[in-house]
């Protein structure tokens, strides 16, 4: 499961023959995706084409006009009936396909494209048919999807397959005939062997050289059509911020209630009991010194327990080592307190802002607790780095995998807390392991405080 930031950064295409061939191969993947999208839309439009063809095939003669009108009405009716059932599933399926295009544009072309569909007015399952149709059709993103299918089918696919086509045609049609008679050489004047070799090599070389750029061009084309307009992107951002803000406020309020309850039931209650015990001891100290001494010992025990509870509470709010030394040492201290075998690699030259530090600490703490509870891992690796304005933390274990955020609220909770900082959490946990959790939080580091040493 991944949650993408709404404003991801673009990357440069990687250069090199291997990556060029990969790029050509990816282009073919996009072409395949184009076929699927076009096929899907044809399912919807097929009856129009079929109708037009049938109507056109009716011979024009006296009396045929009525027949033609009847046919048009018939296809119109059939079309409406089909549309009634097909529009919704086709549009939703198209969303999945363009969603895949968006994701792959990020992964393959280095041009991540954000998704900006309007949220359904209510749970889509309970929505009335016309309400769902209105929801889909009133969304500009739906129309952008359809526009993309048309553009992709007309020109997009050429960008996608061009380099693969150049390489394959150059190799099969021009170079193979030079060495083998199984394939006839292309028929054009002056098709001597040297000319064929030069042309073939030129085509293959052009295909290889152009592949990353064509792939990137395809990504940019997809972005111009599929990426949300600035306004939509801002709306998306506002929606994301107001949601995470209200969640952050909720978590904060819940946390304060928990602290209040813990203090009330724990340390506060013990101090009250202590006061009463001391009072009782004071009343009998002259008449029964032995009993008074026992009461005093009891009061002392109460104070020790109150202190222990306060310590545990403070540790849950803001662990001392985190305040003292920052994230790296705080997690080092955490690893010293668990029976897990943990390899920690921390490479921070400064300290993230305190709220980020705290969120990251509790996230790692929760992940390690998950590992020790569920993973049956022999070893765990924690990796903390900061680069390009991004704090990256990886927690990997060689346990049995199968961690599913849907099954426990822990991972969801971490994700929600990170979202308040525009942070993301990605998890890969196939059954049988290993489990790799990666967290990314955008933040800057401040240089370490210099103080007395």
């Amino acid at each position: 499961m991944t949650v993408t930031d709404s404003r991801p950064a673009r990357r440069r295409p990687p250069l090199g023959i291997g990556s060029s061939l990969t790029a050509a191969y990816y282009g073919l993947g996009f072409a395949g995706l184009m076929l699927a999208e076009a096929g899907l839309v044809l399912v919807l439009l097929g009856w129009v084409l079929l109708g037009a063809r049938t109507v056109a095939s009716v011979p024009v003669g006296p009396g045929d006009g009525q027949k033609r009108e009847l046919l048009i009405l018939l296809f119109l009716g059939a079309g409406l009936a089909i549309a009634r059932f097909l529009v919704l599933p086709v549009l939703l399926a198209l969303r999945r396909l363009t969603g895949l295009t968006r994701r792959l544009a990020g992964e393959w072309c280095g041009v991540p494209i954000a998704e900006s569909y309007l949220p359904p007015p209510a749970d889509p399952a309970t929505l009335h048919y016309t309400a769902r149709l209105r929801w889909l059709l009133s969304d500009a993103a739906t129309w952008r999807d359809l526009l993309w299918v048309a553009v992709n089918a007309l020109v997009g696919w050429i960008l996608a397959v061009a380099s693969a086509a150049l390489i394959v045609v150059g190799a099969v049609a021009f170079l193979v005939p030079v060495f083998s008679h199984a394939v006839p050489p292309p028929a054009f004047p002056g098709n001597t062997k040297p000319v064929l070799v030069i042309l073939g090599c030129a085509m293959v070389a052009t295909g290889v050289a152009a592949a990353p750029w064509l792939l990137r061009g395809y990504g940019l084309l997809a972005a111009t059509i599929l990426a949300p307009a600035d306004k939509a992107e801002l709306a998306l951002r506002v929606r994301h911020l107001s949601q995470t803000r209200s969640e952050a406020l909720d978590t904060g309020a819940a946390e304060i209630r928990r602290i209040e309850r813990d203090l009330h039931d724990g340390a506060q209650a013990r101090l009250v009991a202590m006061g009463m015990t001391l009072d009782a001891a004071g009343q009998i100290i002259d008449t029964n010194p032995d009993a008074a001494r026992a009461l005093l010992a009891e009061a002392r025990d109460s104070s020790v327990k109150a202190l222990a509870e306060l310590r545990a509470l403070v540790r849950g709010i803001h662990p001392p080592v985190l305040a003292d030394r920052g994230l790296g040492d705080a997690i080092a201290a955490l690893t010293l307190d668990t029976p897990l075998r943990i390899h920690l690699a921390s490479d921070l030259y400064g300290r993230p802002p305190a709220p980020v530090e705290s969120a990251a600490y509790f996230a790692v703490s929760e992940l390690l607790a998950n590992v020790s509870k569920h993973a049956e891992a022999r070893e765990t690796w924690v990796d903390i780095r900061h680069s390009d304005g991004m704090l990256r933390i990886g927690v990997t274990d060689n346990g049995r995998g199968g961690a599913d955020p849907a099954c426990g609220s822990g991972l969801r909770g971490i994700e929600r807390r990170l979202a308040s900082f525009d942070g993301i959490l990605a998890i890969s946990s196939p059954p049988g392991g290993p489990t790799a959790v990666t967290m990314e939080i955008p933040c800057e580091l401040s240089l370490p405080k210099t103080s007395f040493s």
Binding site: S303, V304, L307, P320, V321, D329
Partner: protein
């Protein structure tokens, strides 16, 4: 015995001084920050320094750093660090900070003045005083350890007390058993954990701590 105290809260500094004086210890200086501690240690040449972890100006881990710095300037200086909480990370740093007695205790331990003064004397004498909570967490960390699993409950009690830095005599008093019984338990523990037995109390403590820290 001459003691230097560094504690920034007046009430605690005062209470600690009075309690130690009541037990016949001499307080040569009582300061409230790390820089003054270094100066006092250099001037007074005390038998032991008692240092709070949180000191001005940043109120973070100044005490630990001051203790380590003091031991660097005065090798072998016994230091007892007091804290509102204990961290294994800091315990390790203190143990690694050179030779000489070292102690790391929760402030709560001050409530039991007899035990506390005993710990101060032990550290001043070059021994070790680790807080029971540090040891409990070290043992909890070793739950999967087969050798420790093979120890009897009594042996585990002895192991914990030994790791805190207590001598056989003190362990015997604490568990209300004879010294010979303690010696038998320790021999068995060292055998099961495959550690070199040692007559030197403190070397024995350090070996056990090193083993638990794994």
């Amino acid at each position: 015995m001459r003691v230097v105290i560094a504690e920034d809260l007046f009430l605690l500094r005062d209470g600690l001084s009075r309690m130690l004086q009541a037990h016949g210890l001499e307080i040569t200086s009582a300061v409230d920050n790390g820089a003054d501690l270094l100066a006092a240690v250099a001037k007074d040449q005390p038998d032991v320094a008692i240092v709070d972890v949180r000191l001005p100006p940043t109120f973070t881990d100044e005490g630990i750093r001051a203790a380590v710095a003091a031991r660097r300037e005065m090798p072998g200086l016994p230091v007892l660090v007091l804290s509102q909480y204990v961290e294994q990370l800091y315990a390790r740093e203190l143990l690694a900070s050179g030779s000489g007695g070292i102690g790391y205790l929760l402030k709560d331990r001050v409530f039991d003045s007899a035990q506390f003064v005993d710990a101060v004397r032990r550290v001043a004498g070059g021994g070790t005083a680790m807080d029971p909570e540090v040891i409990a967490r070290l043992l909890a960390r070793n739950t999967g350890n087969v050798s420790i699993g093979a120890l009897s409950p009594r042996e585990r009690e002895v192991l914990a007390l030994m790791a805190e830095g207590r001598s056989n005599v003190a362990i015997a008093q604490r568990l209300v058993i004879t010294e010979r019984a303690v010696a038998k338990h320790t021999a068995s523990i060292f055998l099961k954990l495959d550690l070199q037995p040692s007559d030197d109390d403190n070397r024995r403590v350090l070996a056990v701590l090193a083993y638990l820290e794994g």
